[in-house]
C-alpha cells in the first residue's frame, strides 16, 4: 500500500507542486526496502479506489484541467482513503524524474482508466503498449525521424546510434556538444570484416537496462553504436493471445513470447557487419509493422532485454554480458509508474500482470541467467563506478581491434603486375592532353572543371561498357533487321564518395537517364590518417542494382575500400560493383584488387607512387579542393 502511495506522491511531487505539501519532506526515508507486498491489501485498495472514483470525477474535472494535476489529485484521494503516510526512497528518485521528462504521446488520464476498471474494458486504451518490458523512451535513443516526423530513412546510420540527433553527427550530453568523428575502418586490409563488439544487457523488467545502456553509450563517446532491444522480437499474437494481452493474461515475460530464431538471425548478421532489417513491434496490434528499421554500421552493438541471456546461441554472440540487478520493489515501483503514467494502464491490471507473470518469470527465467553475466551491476544506471569499468573495458577491446589500415595499405604490393580487374582507358593523346590541363597547378578553376568533366565523361562511358550486355535484334526504319546489343539490366545506380566523387555524378546522369545516385561521405581523420565513414544514403534495394562507385582520385584505396565494404554490407554482389575514378595510384589498385578481386576498377590514368601525405605523385593535388575552390591558401 505504501508503495502505491509513494508512487503517486512522487509523480505529484514532480508535476504539481501546490497540491500536496507533505510529500516533499519524504525524500530520503526509504520504505521500499521491505520485500514482500501484502497482496490482498493491495488489491483491496485498488477496488476501493475504483468505487470511489465516479463520485469524485466530476468535481475533479472541473477543478483540474491538466492530466498531471489529476494524478496529483488521485494521490490526495488515495491518501484520504488509506490514511497512510507516504514515504519515499531517495535513490530511485532521479530515475523517476528522468522518465517523467519524456513527452509520451500516449499519456492517458488515469481517471478515465481507473473508472473504466480492470475488467478488460480497456478498449479505448488501444494505443497503450501492453508490454511489460522497457521501451527506450529517452529521447536521445529514439530515431530522429520518428521524433521530428521526417521521412523514413533508407539507411540506418544516425537512426539508432548515439548520434540520433536530427542534426546528424552531434551528441549533446551534460551540456557538452560532441561532434562525433566518422566511423573508422571495420575491416582489415584484405577487406575482411572485423566483428563489432557486442554487449548484452540483461535484467528484470524496469531494472534500468536502458539507462545503463544509455550511460554506456554516453560515456563510451564513440559513434557507431547500435542499440538493439529485445522488444522488437516479440512474436506476432493471434486473436486469442491478443485478447489475453488486453486483459493482462498474456505472458510477455516468458521466453516463448519472443521469436528467438529471428533474433539470432538479426544479431548474427549485425555481428557480421551486414545490414539488417529489424522488425518494429506494434504493441497495439501485437504484430509487426510493415516498415522495418534498417540497422547498419556498428562498432559496438548493445543488445538489451529481459531474456537476453536465455538462449545459449545468443549468449555465444555476446562479447560482454552485463546483468542489471535492481531491487524488486524499486522495479515494481518504476513499473507501476511507467505503465500507469506513460502507457495509460490501470493499477489493477499492472499488478495482476506483475504478480502472475512478471514476478514468476523473473524468478524462473531471468534471475537464474545472472550466472552467465560477466558483470553484475547493482542499482542500474546509478552505478557510475560499474559503468566506468565497463566503458574502460570496451575501449580496450576496441583498440585491440583497430589498426592502422592506410599505412598497411601504403606499404604493400610493391612491384607486382597489375591485376586483371583494372581497366585502364586507352591512353589516347586526347586523354593525355586533358590530364595535362587538370594536373597543371596553374590551370584556372574554370578550365579545371571543364576539362575534368570531359575526362569524367569518358571514364563513365567506358565504365558502362563493362556491364554485361546481351545480343538483341531490332527493326530499323530502313526495313532491315539490325543485330546489336543492349545492356542486360537497366538497373544501374551511381554511388559517389563525397566530396570528390560527387563531381562525377553529373556525367553519370548525362549518360544514364534517370539514374539513382547514392552518396557516401568518407573523410580522412587528420589525426590518425585513417578514413572514416560519416554519412550514407543508398537506394533501399541497392542489392538489385549494378553500382558505379565514383571517386575522383584513389591513392591508397582506403576510402574506396571502405565504400566497397559498405556496399557489400548492403548485399551488393562484389561483381556488380565498378569503381570509376580519374586517377589512381598503383598501390591503391593493388589494395582494392587484392581485397575485392571481382570489383572492376576503371581509371583514366595510373600514377606510380604516393607521397607521405598519401597524395598521388605526380597526381592532381586535392581534386575536391580544386574543383570546388576550397584550397587552403597556404597549401601550395
Amino acid at each position: 500500500m505504501s508503495s502505491i502511495t509513494f508512487l503517486c506522491s512522487k509523480t505529484n511531487n514532480n508535476n504539481n507542486n501546490n497540491n500536496i505539501n507533505d510529500v516533499s519532506s519524504t525524500k530520503g526515508k526509504g520504505i521500499a526496502a521491505s520485500s514482500v507486498f501484502p497482496t490482498a491489501a493491495l488489491l483491496t485498495t485498488t477496488t476501493t479506489l475504483q468505487q470511489q472514483q465516479p463520485q469524485q470525477q466530476q468535481q475533479e474535472q472541473a477543478q483540474q484541467q491538466q492530466q498531471q494535476a489529476r494524478l496529483g489529485q488521485l494521490h490526495g484521494n488515495l491518501k484520504k482513503l488509506n490514511a497512510t503516510t507516504a514515504t519515499a526512497k531517495s535513490n530511485c528518485h532521479s530515475h523517476i524524474d528522468d522518465r517523467s521528462d519524456v513527452t509520451e504521446p500516449l499519456y492517458v488520464d488515469p481517471f478515465v482508466e481507473l473508472s473504466s476498471g480492470g475488467g478488460g474494458a480497456g478498449s479505448e486504451l488501444n494505443c497503450c503498449p501492453a508490454s511489460p518490458t522497457t521501451v527506450p523512451a529517452k529521447s536521445s535513443l529514439e530515431s530522429p525521424m520518428r521524433r521530428s516526423g521526417r521521412r523514413q530513412r533508407t539507411t540506418s546510420i544516425g537512426n539508432q546510434t548515439t548520434t540520433a540527433n536530427p542534426s546528424e553527427c552531434i551528441i549533446r550530453s551534460n551540456n557538452r556538444t560532441i561532434y562525433t568523428a566518422g566511423r573508422p575502418p571495420w575491416y582489415n586490409c584484405a577487406g575482411q570484416q572485423v566483428e563489432p563488439f557486442v554487449i548484452g544487457i540483461c535484467g528484470g523488467s524496469a531494472s534500468g537496462k536502458t539507462t545503463v545502456a544509455e550511460k554506456i553509450i554516453e560515456s563510451l563517446d564513440v559513434p557507431w553504436v547500435t542499440l538493439l532491444s529485445m522488444d522488437c522480437f516479440y512474436k506476432i499474437l493471434n486473436e486469442k493471445q491478443h485478447e489475453q494481452a488486453i486483459i493482462n493474461e498474456y505472458n510477455f515475460d516468458h521466453p516463448d513470447a519472443f521469436d528467438i530464431d529471428l533474433l539470432i538471425d538479426v544479431l548474427t548478421k549485425l555481428k557480421e557487419g551486414r545490414k539488417v532489417e529489424v522488425p518494429v513491434y506494434n504493441f497495439v496490434t501485437h504484430g509487426r509493422e510493415s516498415q522495418t528499421k534498417t540497422m547498419y554500421g556498428a562498432n559496438v552493438i548493445i543488445f538489451e532485454g529481459i531474456l537476453t541471456f536465455h538462449s545459449p546461441e545468443v549468449l555465444k554472440l555476446l562479447d560482454m554480458k552485463i546483468f542489471v540487478d535492481t531491487d524488486p520493489d524499486i522495479r515494481l515501483a518504476r513499473r507501476l509508474k511507467r505503465d500507469i503514467s506513460q502507457r495509460g494502464r490501470d493499477l489493477k491490471g499492472v499488478l495482476k500482470q506483475y504478480l502472475n507473470m512478471v514476478k514468476p518469470s523473473y524468478a524462473n527465467y531471468i534471475a537464474p541467467t545472472m550466472a552467465h553475466a560477466d558483470i553484475i551491476v547493482p542499482r542500474g544506471g546509478e552505478n557510475k563506478v560499474a559503468i566506468a569499468l565497463i566503458v574502460q573495458h570496451v575501449h580496450t577491446q576496441l583498440q585491440l581491434r583497430g589498426f592502422k589500415l592506410r599505412e598497411t595499405l601504403a606499404n604493400s604490393y610493391k612491384d607486382q603486375p597489375m591485376p586483371d580487374s583494372l581497366h585502364l582507358l586507352h591512353p589516347t593523346p586526347q586523354i593525355k592532353g586533358l590530364h595535362t590541363f587538370i594536373r597543371c597547378k596553374n590551370t584556372s578553376r574554370d578550365e579545371f572543371i571543364f576539362y575534368s568533366k570531359r575526362l569524367i565523361r569518358l571514364v563513365i562511358e567506358y565504365a558502362l561498357s563493362l556491364f554485361p550486355f546481351k545480343t538483341t535484334c531490332v527493326e530499323t526504319p530502313q526495313g532491315v533487321l539490325y543485330e546489336g546489343k543492349r545492356m542486360e539490366s537497366r538497373k544501374i545506380c551511381g554511388v559517389s564518395i563525397l566530396r570528390a566523387g560527387e563531381t562525377m555524378e553529373q556525367a553519370v546522369c548525362d549518360v544514364c537517364k534517370d539514374i539513382r545516385i547514392g552518396k557516401i561521405l568518407i573523410q580522412t581523420n587528420l589525426k590518425t590518417g585513417e578514413p572514416e565513414l560519416y554519412y550514407l544514403r543508398l537506394p533501399k534495394d541497392i542489392k538489385d542494382y549494378k553500382v558505379i562507385l565514383m571517386d575522383a582520385t584513389v591513392a591508397t584505396g582506403a576510402a574506396a575500400m571502405m565504400a566497397i565494404r559498405v556496399l557489400l554490407d548492403h548485399d551488393v554482389p562484389e561483381e556488380n560493383i565498378i569503381l570509376a575514378s580519374l586517377l589512381m595510384a598503383e598501390i591503391g589498385v593493388h589494395s582494392i584488387a587484392y581485397a575485392f578481386p571481382k570489383v572492376k576498377i576503371v581509371t583514366s590514368a595510373l600514377d606510380p607512387e604516393i607521397n607521405s601525405k598519401f597524395y598521388v605523385i605526380p597526381g592532381i593535388g586535392n581534386f575536391g579542393d580544386r574543383y570546388f575552390g576550397t584550397e587552403p591558401s597556404d597549401e601550395y
Partner: protein, 257 residues
C-alpha cells in the same frame, strides 16, 4: 493430323493454336535470312581488314558493348525521339572525342600541385569545325561540349532526289580556314557524294586535304570506298561500317521531315 512434335503437347491444343505455331517458324526463318546480311557485313569489318581495304586513314570507333548499344538504340525504329536524341548525343560525343585525338599535338611538361612534373601534351590552337547542314549540325553541340569556343563553319549541300547528284549552295567559313585543322561533321554517309562536294569546297578555300578530319557516325562501305579513293589523305572517323545507313537520322533528331 499431327505431322511433328510430341503428341502430348499437340493433343490438348486447339486448331487455332497449331496454326499460329506453324506460322511462327516461318517467320523466324525469314528473320534469320534477313539477319544474314548485316551479320556478314559486321564480321568483315575487323580492324585489320579495314586497314587493308581502306587504308590507315579510315578509323572506326573501338566497338565495345557500350557503343554497340548506342548504335542499336539509334537504329531501332521503336526508339522514342527523346531517347533517340539522348543516345545520339552520347554517340556524337564519343565520336567527337575520338576525332579530336587525330589533331596534332606537342609534348608539354607541367608541374602538378604536389610539386611533381607530369609529362603531358598540348594541342595546337587553330582548329575549327565545319558542319554540313542539316544533320551535321546535330554534332555541333558535341563539339562545343569538348571545345567551348571553337569556330564553326557551315556548308549547305543539296542533292538531287533522282540523280543523287550533290551541289553546294551555301558555305560560310572563318577567313583563315586555310591555316586551320578542320573537323568536318556529317553523321550519315550512304553514297559519300555530299561529303565529296563539301571537301571540294574546303579545298577551294585553301584547306589541305591532310588537315581535314571527317567525323561521321554511320558509313556504308560504298561511301567509305568512294571518299577514301577521292581523298586518300583525309582522316575519316566513324562509329560503324554497315551496308544500310540509318537515313532517318536527321529527320528523327530534329523531328522535322
Amino acid at each position: 493430323m499431327c505431322t511433328g512434335g510430341s503428341p502430348s503437347s499437340n493433343g490438348s491444343q486447339a486448331g487455332d493454336n497449331t496454326e499460329s505455331e506453324q506460322q511462327q517458324p516461318s517467320a523466324t526463318e525469314q528473320q534469320q535470312q534477313q539477319e544474314q546480311v548485316p551479320r556478314t557485313a559486321v564480321e568483315a569489318s575487323t580492324p585489320e581488314q579495314i586497314l587493308a581495304e581502306y587504308g590507315e586513314n579510315l578509323k572506326i570507333l573501338t566497338l565495345n558493348s557500350q557503343v554497340s548499344e548506342l548504335l542499336t538504340i539509334i537504329r531501332d525504329k521503336n526508339t522514342t525521339r527523346s531517347d533517340f536524341k539522348f543516345y545520339a548525343d552520347r554517340l556524337i560525343r564519343l565520336v567527337i572525342e575520338e576525332s579530336l585525338n587525330q589533331l596534332p599535338y606537342t609534348d608539354c611538361d607541367v608541374e602538378t600541385p604536389t610539386g611533381a612534373i607530369y609529362e603531358g601534351l598540348k594541342y595546337r590552337s587553330g582548329n575549327c569545325g565545319v558542319s554540313i547542314i542539316r544533320s551535321g549540325e546535330a554534332m555541333e553541340q558535341g563539339l562545343r561540349d569538348c571545345c567551348r569556343s571553337i569556330r564553326i563553319g557551315k556548308i549547305l549541300v543539296e542533292s538531287d532526289a533522282n540523280t543523287h547528284e550533290a551541289r553546294v549552295v551555301y558555305a560560310r567559313f572563318p577567313d583563315d580556314i586555310g591555316s586551320r585543322q578542320v573537323l568536318l561533321m556529317y553523321p550519315i554517309m550512304s553514297t559519300g557524294n555530299t561529303v565529296l562536294q563539301a571537301v571540294n569546297v574546303l579545298r577551294e578555300h585553301g584547306v589541305p586535304e591532310k588537315c581535314i578530319i571527317l567525323s561521321n557516325l554511320f558509313c556504308t562501305p560504298i561511301a567509305a570506298r568512294t571518299v577514301v579513293n577521292a581523298f586518300p589523305k583525309m582522316k575519316i572517323l566513324t562509329s560503324e561500317l554497315h551496308p544500310v545507313a540509318p537515313n532517318h537520322f536527321g529527320q528523327k533528331y530534329f523531328d522535322v521531315l
